[in-house]
Amino acid sequence: MTAQEVRLCGLLLQEHFGEVVAKVGTHLLKSGAQNLRTIIHETGISLDLVKKSLCVLVQHGTCVFSSGRKAPGSPTEYRTSCDRILRILRYPRYIYTAKTLYGDTGELIIEELLQRGDMTMSSTVKTVADRLTQNMEEGRSMDYSEVSSAFSKLVETHFLQRCPPMAGAGTKDSGTPATPATPAIPGTPAAPVSTAPPTPESFPDCYRVPHVTLIGRGKRRLSNEDGEDQRNAKKTKMDSETHGDEGIYWQVNFERFHLHFRDQAIISAVANKLDQTSSEIVRTMLRMSEVTTSPTATCTKPLSANEIFRSLPSSYNIPRPILDQYLTLLVDDPMEFVGKAGESGGGMYVVNLHKALANLARATLESVVQERFGSRSARIFRLLLRKRHLEQKQVEDFAMIPAKEAKDMLYTLLSQNLVQLQEIPKTPDYAPSRTFYLYTVNQLPTARMLLQNCYKTVANLIERRLFESKESKRLLEKSQRIEAILASLQASGAEPEQLTEVEEMITAPEKQQLEALRLHINKLDSAENQVDETIFLLESYVNSTMSVY
C-alpha cells in the first residue's frame, strides 16, 4: 500500500463513485481496518454518507467487514485493499476480452456485472436483454434464453463466479438486486466469523449455474428520456417474480481474466520470437490446460504430444513429425517457454509459466531502459543482467564502449536506481582503494520500482485528463446544452432553419477547441490502457515470485 497506489486508488474511486466514496476509501486504505465510529470521526463525514459509501464499497467487493479484533462482541471493522480498486483500471480490457470471446452478449453481461458489482443471474439476463433489444432494429428483440446460454458459457469457463455467501448474514434482504441508488445494508453479523474472508473458490457450488426459469424477451425502452431511469428502477422493484435464484449473486472472476491475459502475452511473445505456427501450438497447449492448472502453478500439467496433435485446430494441417520438430524447437529456445517433462506418449510437454513471466518482465525492463537512456545503456543493462556482477573495467570491455562513455552511462543508471553497486572489501577497513566495486542488476526489486512508477504515471494521466476537462468545463457545458436543445427541437419537428440557427451558436474556433479536447482525452485514455498492460505484466511477475515463497 504505497503512496502511489493510494493516490491512484483515490483517483479511480473519485471517477467511478464520487467524492465521498473516494474520501472514505482512501481513509480506509491509509489507516487499515477501522470500525464505523472511527471512520466517521476521522473523516468528518456524516453517518448517513459514510454508511452509504461503505455499502457501495462492499457491493463492489472492495471492502470487507469482519468482527472486531479485540473481542468477539466489538463493533465490526471495515477493511479495503488496493488490489481490488486497481482492477477498475482494467475494466475496459475485461469488457473487450469478453467481446472477442463471446460476442456482444458476453460483452454486455460483463459490463453490467462490473458496473453493479454483483447481481443475480435473472436480473443480469433481463437487463442485458433489454439493452440488446434497444440496439436492435424495430420489431426484433432479444430472447432471454440466448442471454442465459451466454451467461452459462461464461460460468463454465470460470469467467464468472458466485459471490461467497456472508456467514451469519441471514437477515440480508436479497430480494432486490442492489443498485447504487438503493444499497442493501449488510446485516449485523451476530455470530463471530473467521478473520480471513472465505474465497469464492472454497465453495463447491462456485461455478454451478442454478436452475433458473426465465422465459420472455427483452423489452424495448420507450423513447422517453427523462423519466426513463426512474421508471426502470420502479419496474425492477415491482418485478416480484421469483426465478428460483434468490440470494445467489454472481461476480466477475478477475483471476480468470488475468490468466487469460497472461496466456495472451505468452502466445504473442512466442509469435514474435518464433513464428505463427509455434504460437498456435502454444495456444493449443494453454487452452487444454485452462481449467486444470491452478492460478499459482509454476507450469501447466504435462501434455503428451499425441494429445496436442489431436487438439490442434483443423485449419493447421501439419503432419505429426513436423509437430514434433516444432515442439523440439520450442524446448530448445533459450527463452524456455516450453519444457519437456518426460518421454511417455510421444513426449510430455509443459508450458513454463513462471519462467515465461520472468522473461517477459525482463524484456519490459530492458525496453524501458532502452527507450529512456538509449541503446548503449540498454546494452550495458542486458550485459549486467546476464553476467550478474561485473567490475567497471569488465563492463567496458564486454560492451565495447569507450571508457568515458561507459562510466557516464553506468552512473546515470546508478542514480536512477536501475543498477546497484556491490562492495567487496579486501581489507576489513573498507578502504576505497582496496575494495572491489561490482555493478549488478536485481530483477525483482527493479521490477517493483518500475511498477510503482507505472502507478504514478497512470495517476498523472488521470489527473491531466481531469484538468483538461475542468479547463474546458464552460465549453463542454455549452455544447451539451446546445445538443440538448437540438435533440428536443428535432423531436418536436422543427424546421431546418431553426436547427442551423442553433448549431451556429457554437462558433468555429470553439468547435475546433472541442475537437482538440476530445482528441486529448481519447489519447490520455488510450495511454492509460497501454500503461495498464505494463502494470499487468509486472504485477503478474511480482505475484508469481511471491507465491513461490
Partner: protein, 359 residues
C-alpha cells in the same frame, strides 16, 4: 734489453725511466701477450708450464674459475671453487672473482645457502660494454618485465636509485636503442618501458580495437552492423526457404568462423582481426538482444572448432514490442521524481504532456 732502452733514452734526452721498472713493464707485457695467445688457443696448461713455473712470475686463477662456472651453468658456490683449487688462498680467490665480476663476465646471485657465481651470457655482456653498473641494473629490470613493460616508478623501487639518475639512464638507453617507451592504453599519461625488439602485449596497446590509444568506436559500430546484417539476412533466407522448421532453424545459424570469413572478405578492417575479436563483436550483439548463441560439439579438425566446440550465432526478433509505459511522456520524463500535483512540476502544467497531446 731494458738497460739498453733506458740508456738510449737518457742519451736522447727524452723521459727517463728507472730500468727496473721498465723491465718489469716489459715482462708484464710479454706475459700478458703469451697468456692471451695461449688462452685463445686453449693451451693455458702450456703457458702455466712455461711461465708460471713455481709460481714465480704469475698465476692463472681466473680462467679456472670461469671453466668451473661453465661446467655448472646454474652457478657455483665458494665452496666448490675451494674444493677444486685447494692450493688457492681465499684472498687470491676473492681477487679473481672480483676481477671477473667487474669485467661483467660473472653474475653474483644469492640463494638460501649463500652466494652463487654464474657465468653471464656472452652476448649480453658484449652489449653492455661501456655502460656502467647502474645502467646495467636498470636494463636488467626492464628485461625482466618482458612483454608488459615497466613503469619508471617501479624501476625506481626495484633499483633504489634516485629519480634523476633513472631518467638519465633511461634517456641514455633509449638513445642507444636498447629500450623503448610505449604509451599504455589504460592510463594515457603512463609510459612503460620495454626492450626495443619486443612486441608490446595486448593489454598495453588494447589490441585490435585501439589505434594510438583511442578506442575506435565507429569501427566497432560498423563491424557490429555488418555482422548483424549478415546474420539477419541468413535468418531471412532460412525463413523464406519454407522447409521443415528444424532445417530452417539450423540453416539460419552461422558459425563464428563463417562470420569471420565474411568480415575478412568485406575488407572494411585495416587491421587483421582474429576469430576471438569477431567473437567479442558477436557478444556485443548478444547484449543488444539481437542475436542468440548456442554451442555445439564439433569434431576436432572441422574448420573453426576450438577444443571440440563450435559457437553458432543466429539473428532473432525481439520478444515484445516497446512496452506501454514508454509510450507516455511520464515513462521518459527526466523530472519524473519531482512531479507532484500542486507543485512546480505537475501533471496539470506538464509541458511534455502538452507537446505530446498536440502531436
Amino acid at each position: 734489453m731494458s738497460i739498453y732502452l733506458t740508456r738510449r733514452d737518457r742519451l736522447q734526452g727524452g723521459p727517463t725511466l728507472d730500468p727496473v721498472t721498465l723491465w718489469r713493464y716489459n715482462v708484464k707485457a710479454r706475459l700478458r701477450l703469451e697468456f692471451c695467445f695461449h688462452r685463445v688457443t686453449g693451451n693455458t696448461d702450456v703457458f702455466e708450464q712455461q711461465w708460471a713455473h713455481e709460481e714465480l712470475l704469475c698465476r692463472v686463477t681466473g680462467g679456472e674459475i670461469k671453466e668451473l662456472c661453465q661446467q655448472f651453468p646454474h652457478g657455483i658456490t665458494d665452496q666448490v671453487i675451494q674444493n677444486d683449487m685447494p692450493h688457492l688462498e681465499p684472498q687470491q680467490r676473492a681477487m679473481a672473482i672480483n676481477k671477473l665480476l667487474s669485467l661483467g663476465q660473472l653474475d653474483l646471485l644469492r640463494n638460501s645457502s649463500g652466494l652463487l657465481y654464474r657465468m653471464k651470457d656472452m652476448q649480453s655482456t658484449s652489449k653492455m660494454k661501456g655502460s656502467d653498473n647502474q645502467e646495467k641494473l636498470v636494463y636488467q629490470i626492464i628485461e625482466d618485465a618482458g612483454n608488459k613493460g615497466i613503469w619508471s616508478r617501479d624501476i625506481r623501487f626495484k633499483s633504489n636509485l634516485p629519480l634523476t639518475e633513472i631518467n638519465k639512464i633511461l634517456k641514455n638507453l633509449e638513445s642507444k636503442k636498447l629500450i623503448k617507451a610505449v604509451k599504455s592504453v589504460a592510463a594515457s599519461k603512463k609510459k612503460v618501458y620495454m626492450l626495443y625488439n619486443l612486441q608490446p602485449d595486448r593489454s598495453v596497446t588494447g589490441g585490435a580495437w585501439y589505434s594510438d590509444q583511442d578506442f575506435e568506436s565507429e569501427f566497432v559500430e560498423v563491424l557490429n552492423q555488418q555482422c548483424f546484417k549478415f546474420l539477419q539476412s541468413k535468418a531471412e533466407a532460412a525463413r523464406d526457404s519454407k522447409q521443415s522448421p528444424m532445417v530452417q532453424r539450423n540453416s539460419s545459424f552461422a558459425t563464428s568462423h563463417e562470420v569471420w570469413k565474411y568480415i575478412c572478405e568485406l575488407g572494411i578492417s585495416k587491421v587483421d582481426l582474429s576469430m576471438d575479436d569477431i567473437e567479442t563483436i558477436l557478444n556485443t550483439l548478444i547484449y543488444d538482444g539481437k542475436v542468440e548463441m548456442t554451442v555445439i560439439a564439433a569434431k576436432e579438425g572441422t574448420v573453426g572448432s576450438v577444443d571440440g566446440q563450435m559457437k553458432l550465432y543466429r539473428g532473432v526478433n525481439p520478444v515484445i514490442q516497446p512496452t506501454g509505459v514508454v509510450r507516455t511522456p511520464c515513462g521518459l520524463c527526466p523530472v519524473f521524481e519531482d512531479c507532484h500535483e500542486g507543485g512546480e512540476i505537475s501533471p496539470s502544467n506538464c509541458i511534455y504532456m502538452t507537446e505530446w497531446l498536440d502531436f
